[in-house]
Each structure stands twice: as structure tokens, then as C-alpha cells.
């Protein structure tokens, strides 16, 4: 039996909106959908998108969440909101009233972040729902096409998903190498000295990090529908990449604001303790891990303390996790959070560095290496050799690739590319080629 009605939610929503506006928050209108836990898990599997193309991996994702939920190992996340205009957010029917209010405040924070953070500038939230719907329609049509069918569609999706993180982290527009080639020829002809030694017939014209786009453009034997699927996956990745790059900030900002708004809402006394309990649950540190809610909430509070609220608004506009930590995480913070780095040594995980005078910088730089797109290995297309041999290169930064996985992904690229693909990397300090 729930202790709230939609009318209650609407009433309190008015108060939240009024309050948030006085704090200069500026967000998309939010469209809340109330659903049960089962539908919630379903929505989560598809990243909250009301419509999404089908693939078995989303079924897997559902099963996993469902299994964990049933085992009680993990509560469902309190909130699920997507970067669209209006923002779509989900409220679980089973939630008690105070929790719905907390989520609504939290969502205002997220939506404000989506709308104002520069990392999201190119995500086009006004028509994202339509774009996903359209992508689903196209993939459905390929699945239903008797000359294609689900097996073939899945094969291309499997390959493209394996490469979905290998796009430009800053979501730069892809300029086709064929047009770069024309450009280069022009410059050579015009006598541009800086390019006089360049050969315009060697691809890629410049090193390329956007593997999906390059394969989509340059692979010889792909059919139109295959190129379309690759582009659909790539577009989706470009849309989600800003969220990967701002996880700590985004959750921190939303928590910072739900805490503040909830405090100033004049909540009935009986809701106050449960609200604080839930809040503490969400922003608690996870031993041996980084809880983005915790770190983000902590840092925004520190920024306000040190430089004033205005600075928080600046950070929310111009930073992503990497620059956020680089700029604002101090020695004192590392010490207070007791951050440490560890790695696998033989069969044990052993602490390498702790946050003392000597160690904190090292710990901070390791932390920065694991956030946002830094957690994705940089793989670059170096050279298209004769006989359609594609040479790709892993930009080694001290961390080795997981070989078993890399081999599989190279197989996937080979499938799409339709020719030999060679990856060079470094394993245990020795050059290594797959």
C-alpha cells in the first residue's frame, strides 16, 4: 500500500520546482513515469530509452539485474533519468513517498546537468527519443527482411557492440577519409609546404580513433544495411559517451542538490529521518572502491566551502570527471577520503600507494586514469596496407590489455573489415602482436 497519490506528487513537485528555481537551477521539464519494479528493470536494461532496438545483450542485462534484485544483493538504483528534452524519469511504484520526493529532487539535479554541462553540448536531447525510435525501426526492418534475418543482424551488432567504446571520447564529428584525401591533394597542389611529403593514397589520412566510423566508411564488402547498423551503434555510443565521462560529477551534482532541496522543502517531520537515512546510504563510501555519488557529493561540497557556490556552477558547466578531479581534488581530500591505489601482485591485491605526503599525487593520477573515457584503452587505426591489411595500434600507457578479450575484439573487427587486422600492443614490457 503506497502512502502517496499522483496528486501528492504533483503538489510537492510544484514546491520542488519553485525552490529549485530560486537556486538558479535550469533544467528540462521532467516527465515522470510510474512503473513497478519489473518494468523498472526492463527500462534499465535499455538505458531508460522508451524505445530501443533489440539485442540479446539487453536480455542478459535484465536477467542479471533481476537475479541480483531477487537475491537481495543489490537494491535497484533509486533513480533512472535520461538526457532528453523533456527528461524522462522513472519512479518505482513500490517506493515510499519521501523517497519519491528525494528522487524528484535528484532528477532535477541530473536534468540541470544534462542541460548545462558542455560535455553534453552535442547530444541533441530534443530529438533523441525520435532517433532511438528510428534506429529501432530500421533494425527491426533488417530483422524482418527475409534476405537478412536476426542471425545476420545479431552478428553485425555483436561486432559493433564490441567496438562501441572505440569512438572519439570527445565525440568529435567524423570527417570521412575520402574527403580528407581530396583536401590533402588540394593542399599539396597549392604548394602547402607542411604537407609536401605526404602521400594522399595512404589511408588513414590521419591516425583514426573512431574505429566504427572508419570501418563503416572504408570496409570494402559491407552491405548498406550493415553500414547502417554500425552507424546506429556508433550514434548511440556518442550519445552515451558524455554520461560515461561525467559519472562522478553528474551523480555528485544531483546528490548535492537533492540534499539541499530536501532540506529546504519543509518536509513533514516523519519524512526527515528516512530521507537522511536514504541519503547517507546513497553517498556512503564503498570500501576499496570509488562510489561516484560519494566522491562527487563530497567534492561539490568542498568546492562550495573553498570557493563559493558560484564555482560549483562553473564546474558543472565546463568540467568532466577528468578535469574535475584534476582541478579540484586536493591533497587534503585524498587524505580525508583515505584514497589508496592497489594492484594485483601474483595472487594478491596489494596496496601500492596511500595518500600521504609522498603518495597522494600518485594516487590521484591513478584515480584520474580510471575515470571516464580513461578507463577505455586507446586503440588507433594506423595504417591500411596493401591487400586490405589493417594495422591498428594500442597506445600503451603502462596498463596492458586483457589479451583474451583483445583477441576476440580483433576477430570482431576482422569480421566487419573483411580482411586481415593486426593489432600491436605491449604485454609485460614486450611488444606484442595479435
Amino acid at each position: 500500500m503506497s502512502d502517496w497519490s499522483i496528486k501528492d506528487l504533483e503538489e510537492w513537485d510544484d514546491r520542488i520546482i519553485e525552490l529549485a528555481k530560486t537556486h538558479d537551477l535550469d533544467w528540462f521539464p521532467i516527465s515522470y513515469e510510474i512503473c513497478d519494479y519489473y518494468a523498472m528493470i526492463g527500462n534499465m536494461a535499455y538505458h531508460g530509452m522508451p524505445l530501443h532496438y533489440r539485442h540479446w545483450s539487453y536480455g542478459k542485462s535484465f536477467e542479471r539485474t533481476h537475479q541480483m534484485y531477487n537475491l537481495g544483493a543489490e537494491g535497484l538504483p533509486y533513480e533512472l533519468i535520461i538526457n532528453s528534452d523533456p527528461s524522462i524519469a522513472y519512479l518505482m511504484r513500490e517506493n515510499p513517498f519521501y523517497l519519491q520526493l528525494l528522487i524528484m529532487c535528484h532528477c532535477v539535479g541530473h536534468s540541470d546537468f544534462f542541460k548545462n554541462n558542455l560535455t553534453f553540448a552535442k547530444t541533441r536531447p530534443e530529438n533523441v527519443i525520435q532517433r532511438f525510435k528510428n534506429a529501432k525501426k530500421r533494425i527491426d526492418s533488417y530483422i524482418e527482411d527475409p534476405s537478412i534475418g536476426i542471425e545476420k543482424v545479431e552478428r553485425v551488432l555483436d561486432c559493433a557492440h564490441a567496438l562501441s567504446m572505440n569512438i572519439s571520447p570527445s565525440c568529435k564529428d567524423y570527417v570521412p577519409h575520402q574527403s580528407r584525401r581530396k583536401d590533402l591533394i588540394k593542399r599539396i597542389k597549392s604548394g602547402d609546404a607542411s604537407v609536401k611529403d605526404r602521400n594522399p593514397d595512404i589511408f588513414p589520412i590521419e591516425d583514426e580513433i573512431d574505429i566504427l566510423a572508419f570501418v563503416g566508411e572504408m570496409a570494402l564488402n559491407l552491405e548498406d544495411w550493415e553500414r547502417d547498423i554500425i552507424e546506429i551503434v556508433r550514434q548511440e555510443s556518442m550519445y552515451f559517451m558524455p554520461q560515461i565521462r561525467t559519472k562522478i560529477m553528474n551523480e555528485g551534482w544531483a546528490s548535492f542538490w537533492h540534499y539541499r532541496l530536501m532540506h529546504n522543502l519543509d518536509l513533514p517531520q516523519k519524512y526527515h529521518i528516512p530521507f537522511l537515512k536514504s541519503h547517507n546510504q546513497v553517498v556512503r563510501p564503498h570500501l576499496g572502491r570509488i562510489n561516484p555519488y560519494h566522491l562527487g557529493f563530497y567534492l561539490f561540497n568542498k568546492i562550495e566551502e573553498r570557493y563559493g557556490l558560484e564555482e560549483c556552477f562553473i564546474a558543472r558547466e565546463v568540467c568532466h570527471d577528468e578535469s574535475f578531479l584534476r582541478q579540484y581534488l586536493t591533497k587534503e581530500d585524498c587524505y580525508e577520503l583515505n584514497l589508496f591505489s592497489y594492484s594485483l601482485y601474483k595472487r594478491d591485491y596489494v596496496i601500492n600507494e596511500v595518500s600521504d605526503d609522498d603518495g597522494w599525487k600518485e594516487v590521484k593520477s591513478s584515480l584520474i586514469k580510471q575515470v571516464g573515457s580513461n578507463s577505455i584503452p586507446k586503440i588507433i587505426i594506423k595504417e591500411l596496407k596493401p591487400n586490405n591489411v589493417l594495422r591498428i595500434h594500442h597506445e600503451h600507457d603502462g596498463r596492458d590489455l586483457e589479451l583474451g578479450y583483445a583477441e576476440k575484439v580483433v576477430d570482431y573487427i576482422t569480421t566487419l573489415w573483411g580482411g586481415v587486422v593486426r593489432l600491436d600492443t605491449v604485454i609485460e614490457h614486450e611488444p606484442f602482436e595479435i
Partner: protein, 390 residues
């Protein structure tokens, strides 16, 4: 102003993707199931009991960093006392950090699939059969099969055939229209009638096959260590379930021996240990005895399986070969498994292992397999029953 919408949609949006995922897992189970057949948790269970088996998840591969010395993870330890060089976890037991949600870290995923041993047997033994089965005089064994055979008005719910049922209803409706008893204003009232229900009928077909007696001979002497006995039992357990799931009413005879042999019951066979020396011939002779008294080869298909670590008292070797030869001539199939033979041991002790002295007997219906570890149990099984196309 926000909007609130009650989602009353009951459609299960991930249904078809879950179905595809399940199909992939099913395929993985079929392909990888032999990995788990020698698992401790399975051995010794009865067929109806549900067991949980871990099935490796279908992985989604990406470029990820490996978990090793040069990949530093950062975590917080508020309020904890920590220092450099401190151990904070162990490989396999999980690092302090769980695999990242973004899918950029590797993580082994397992699904627990609940399955009964009988179902497991069905997966496992799909393509296997007892070799050289012949029709003998009396026919009291049967192999069962189920076949669809038309429709009935009565049946259990899962066999309700919706299409046939609706056809029946449409027919009835057509008839009603023809007889002008149908009231188009009142469509709702033309519901399903009990007589519309059609159930698929499944007929059990008993196919008489020849009689079979299966002999399980196990060396339980002192040299059979706990581990060796475990491997032998794994093999026999698999064998036992294979036969039980595929052939009805076969006779089983369990013989365990050290320097003397005895026919034992199933529970003792799978549970009991013993110490002492080894006279392999005693086990084989006991088996011959039982055949002579109870299972005449004219009426019975005889299958003999023996597990031993290959150690035998040298003075018994001649007798063992003699008995084995006779047994092989009476049996449709004789399978000998040698458990954990140690390389070269025979040479320096100037002793031959059984597999060496049995070597000359090998032919179509006499096979030898070696079992060194859990994985070999399944290989031995394939060698004996997986058709004869090695």
C-alpha cells in the same frame, strides 16, 4: 511543471531479448556441459534432485585492461588504517573493486542454472549409446520414446493446443451461423466451450531391445588414493546415469575388489573404501562367476567396465589377462579405465601397469582409457560411447 504518468503497460519489453539470450545459454550448456560432469556436487546425487550448476555467461568482449601489476585501482578507505604493501584481496576471491558498470573491465560472469540430474543426462547422453547391442532371446528391456499422436479432448494444461482449439471454436461458430443460432449482437457470449479444447496427445512407445547386464568393477585397494577413487566414482556415476537415462530395466552388478572381490550394493559401491593389496584377477573372476550363474551371454548383452590405478601384484598379471580375455569374449563391450597412471613408474619398478599388460587385448569391443584428471572423465566416456569414429 513536470508531468506524471502511471505506466499501466504490462507488456514485457525485454521478453524477446531474454529469449535470445536464453537460447545462447542453452547452446553454451550443451557445448560446455562436460566441464561440469565431474563436479563434486553432482557425484552421488539422485536423479530427481535439482542441482544448481554454474554456467559461464555469454561474454560481451571489448578492449579492456587486464588485471595485473601495472593496472592500479583506486579506492577509498575512510576510517581505515592502511599501509603500503598491505594485502587487500585475493585473485579469484574478487578484488575489492567489483567489475565496472561501464563494461570496461573484465569480469567472469556465471549464471546458476537449476537442472535435475535426469535433465542433465538428457543433454549429456544425447548421442551416446551402448555399443554392439544385439537382440538376444528374451525381451524384457525396453527403451522408451514419446511420440505426438493426434489430439484429444482431455489433457493436461501445458499440452493445450491453442491453434487447434480456436479452429474448433471457429468451426462451431460457422455451424451456428449456418443453423442461424448465432447472434452477431452477442459476440461476447460466444465464448470457448469445453468441447473446443484440444490437447496434444503424447503416446509412449516402448521399443523392446535386448537384455543388458552392466558390470561395474572397481579397484578399492590401498593404492587407490582418495583422489583416484573420486575419479573412478565420477566415471561410474556418469556411466550409471547414462544407462539409467537411456535404457530401462537393465541389470547392474557392482563389484569391488582389493585382494579379494565381492558383489556389493550400489550405495556401498559408491561410498565404501578399503585398504590392502591388489589382485585384479579376483575382481574379473568374480564378474565371470556372476555371469556364469545369472547372465548367460546367449540371453544377455554383457557390458563390463573396470576402473583401477593399474597397480597389480606382478604374480597376478597372467591370471588377470586370462580372465580379462575371457570376459572380453563374453562381453559386448569391455571398457578399462586406468586412473592416474604415473609416467615411467612401471619402468623403474620393473612392473607393468594393467593398461600395458591389457594392451594386446585391445580391439573393437575392448577399449582402454586413461583418466588423469576431472576433464578426462568425460573424454573416457566419449571414447567408450561416442560412436566408433575416433
Amino acid at each position: 511543471m513536470s508531468t506524471f504518468k502511471e505506466n499501466k503497460n504490462v507488456s514485457d519489453r525485454s521478453g524477446s531479448d531474454r529469449q535470445r539470450h536464453k537460447e545462447k545459454i542453452d547452446k553454451a550448456i550443451k557445448e560446455g556441459i562436460h566441464d561440469i560432469v565431474a563436479d563434486e556436487s553432482i557425484i552421488g546425487q539422485d536423479g530427481k534432485k535439482k542441482i544448481k550448476i554454474p554456467v559461464k555467461g555469454i561474454k560481451e568482449y571489448r578492449f579492456v585492461y587486464g588485471d595485473n601489476e601495472n593496472k592500479k585501482n583506486v579506492g577509498s578507505a575512510e576510517g581505515q588504517d592502511i599501509h603500503r604493501g598491505q594485502k587487500v584481496g585475493q585473485r579469484g576471491k574478487g578484488s575489492p573493486a567489483k567489475p565496472n558498470k561501464a563494461g570496461n573491465e573484465k569480469g567472469e560472469e556465471y549464471y546458476e542454472v537449476e537442472i535435475t540430474l535426469d535433465e542433465l543426462s538428457a543433454y549429456l547422453f544425447d548421442h551416446f549409446k551402448l555399443p554392439n547391442m544385439e537382440k538376444k532371446k528374451f525381451k524384457n528391456i525396453s527403451s522408451k520414446s514419446f511420440k505426438r499422436s493426434g489430439y484429444r479432448n482431455e489433457g493436461i494444461r501445458p499440452r493445450l493446443d491453442k491453434k487447434e482449439t480456436i479452429k474448433k471454436k471457429i468451426k462451431r461458430k460457422k455451424k451456428a451461423i449456418k443453423n442461424s443460432t448465432y447472434d452477431p449482437e452477442n459476440e461476447e457470449r460466444f465464448g470457448f466451450h469445453h468441447d473446443d479444447l484440444r490437447y496434444r496427445f503424447i503416446k509412449e512407445k516402448k521399443k523392446p531391445t535386448s537384455n543388458a547386464a552392466i558390470f561395474f568393477i572397481m579397484d578399492v585397494s590401498g593404492s587407490m588414493t582418495k583422489q583416484k577413487k573420486f575419479l573412478a566414482r565420477s566415471f561410474f556415476f556418469l556411466l550409471y546415469h547414462f544407462i539409467r537415462s537411456k535404457y530401462e530395466n537393465t541389470e547392474h552388478c557392482f563389484i569391488s575388489h582389493d585382494t579379494s572381490a565381492a558383489e556389493v550394493n550400489e550405495d556401498d559401491f559408491f561410498a565404501k573404501g578399503s585398504t590392502g593389496g591388489t589382485l585384479v584377477s579376483t575382481g574379473l573372476d568374480k564378474c565371470l562367476d556372476v555371469i556364469d550363474t545369472r547372465y548367460h551371454p546367449d540371453t544377455w548383452n554383457i557390458y563390463t567396465f573396470q576402473c583401477s590405478d593399474g597397480d597389480n601384484w606382478p604374480e597376478d598379471n597372467d591370471g588377470a589377462v586370462k580372465s580379462a580375455r575371457r570376459l572380453a569374449s563374453l562381453s559386448q563391450f569391455f571398457g578399462y579405465c586406468e586412473i592416474e597412471p604415473r609416467e615411467g613408474r612401471g619402468a623403474w619398478l620393473q612392473m607393468s601397469t594393467l593398461s600395458e599388460i591389457f594392451g594386446p587385448l585391445v580391439k573393437d569391443n575392448f577399449k582402454i582409457a586413461e583418466i588423469r584428471n576431472k576433464d578426462d572423465v568425460w573424454l573416457a566416456f566419449q571414447r567408450f560411447f561416442g560412436g566408433f569414429n575416433e
